[in-house]
Symmetry: C2
Subunit: 229 residues, 2 copies
DNA sequence: CCGTCTTAGTGTGATGTCTACACCTTGCGA
DNA sequence: TCGCAAGGTGTAGACATCACACTAAGACGG
């Protein structure tokens, strides 16, 4: 029994805005489209939702198929449904954004795409569909949410230095932060654990490595604590 | 040319969580369903998206058809797509939340609904589909966002007293606020204009009426100001 | 092995923000 | 005109934020 058997339905897709921090600041993962429409253009990884999978599963599946990425931080962003956003007809797209550690994200282009690559958010190429608008919405969400949710850690490896973490915030918030104030504040939250290890192989004094204590964060959150940078 | 002509599509609906402040605190507008599934249950106003309307238009249309409400503050909340959320088959729903002034919202039940009425969020009846989950998500969004966006004003008439405004925040944040501190802070933002009028017909000293200066807010926002309560 | 280079790591004082708190004023209605 | 109920107002102490500069340690090259 169909809910509206005599009723035409929009097609439903998911799209993923994958962010990472690179040498050029904030970057987004794009694929080069192989097929029409917009063959040859860069676009967000994504595709049609299957009938037997929920939306987040569809986003994760498409992401893995088109870029090789798995086990990433992924959160629903917004649903885009302008009637003219796809030249093929009515297509509504549920957009997600993901955060990954660029250095540890090993990419694998898929048959549907000619290429997969990182692009600086500050200098995007022309994008297919309304994908530029989707990236802009994701960027804004990231800027807003990074201050009150522990998102920064998702862009780093499990063990990281405070300087690396500070750089994440400086890139996302697009402003310089004071080293001493930053360290004091972030350590005062009690969410970072000193692993006791030092970063090796750098041509200067070796910095301490920390990790984010997710368990403790969830605990504190339940008790009414809120992350604030 | 269909984007996926041989591909089955989920049905697509919109649902609206309409909030207002009533005597019992935060309230939500529900309709009593006339038809199966869930005939007789309370549910959120909503319905199927037409092929030639965008998502927000669909939400506004359904809201007007089922409750009579027009010109409300409306913002997209989240898209719910669990495969089993509708017993009729695969239905994905884009949820919106709306804020209205309960005193000035004149309701008109529609043919699709046996009744339309306000219900305290603290004591909801059993709801159809996953609508309880949707209300919970909307409630959480409202609690979070009311602190950094000027949403409170949407729940009041154009002209309001500071005590009315304070009550809005107390109800939503579920905590008592200090009168002097609240007034100082909210007036310091420079977003309220004293209309020069007084509220009449109350059995005590007549309070001043203010209005929210939307134009000035947009101006300040562009200049990097951010609302904060 | 010594010097140089580069980033790590650390404390304080001044300034602004937040919090807690109590009383007089005003308008209405009895 | 008296009582009632909410309106409207200031200050001091605690706390958080900001600006700011030097020494420490490790790597590398000569």
């Amino acid at each position: 029994m169909s809910p509206d058997h005599d009723h035409p339905r929009p097609a439903l897709t998911v799209d993923c805005v994958v962010f990472a921090i690179g040498d050029d600041g904030l970057e987004v993962l794009l694929i080069e489209r192989d097929h029409e429409p917009f063959a040859g253009s860069w676009a967000l990884p994504g595709g049609f939702v299957e009938m037997d999978e929920n939306l987040e599963s569809a986003a994760r599946r498409e992401l893995e198929e088109e870029t090789g990425l798995t086990d990433v931080f992924l959160e629903q962003l917004y649903t885009f449904g302008a009637t003219d956003r796809d030249p093929r007809g009515r297509v509504v797209s549920v957009a997600y954004y993901a955060l990954v550690d660029r250095a540890h994200a090993h990419l694998a282009a898929d048959s549907d795409a000619a290429a997969v690559d990182w692009h600086s958010v500050a200098a995007l190429p022309g994008l297919a569909f309304d994908h530029r608008e989707i990236v802009a919405a994701a960027h804004e969400r990231l800027r807003g949410k990074v201050r009150y949710a522990p998102l920064g850690f998702e862009l780093l490896p499990r063990h990281f230095t405070l300087t690396q973490l500070q750089r994440i915030y400086e890139v996302i918030l697009d402003s310089a932060l004071d080293k001493r104030n930053f360290r004091r504040k972030i350590l005062a939250m009690g969410l970072l654990v000193d692993t006791g290890k030092l970063q090796r192989g750098v041509a200067h004094r070796a910095p301490r490595l920390y990790r984010f204590d997710r368990r403790r964060y969830k605990q504190l959150e339940r008790d009414g604590f809120s992350f604030w940078l």
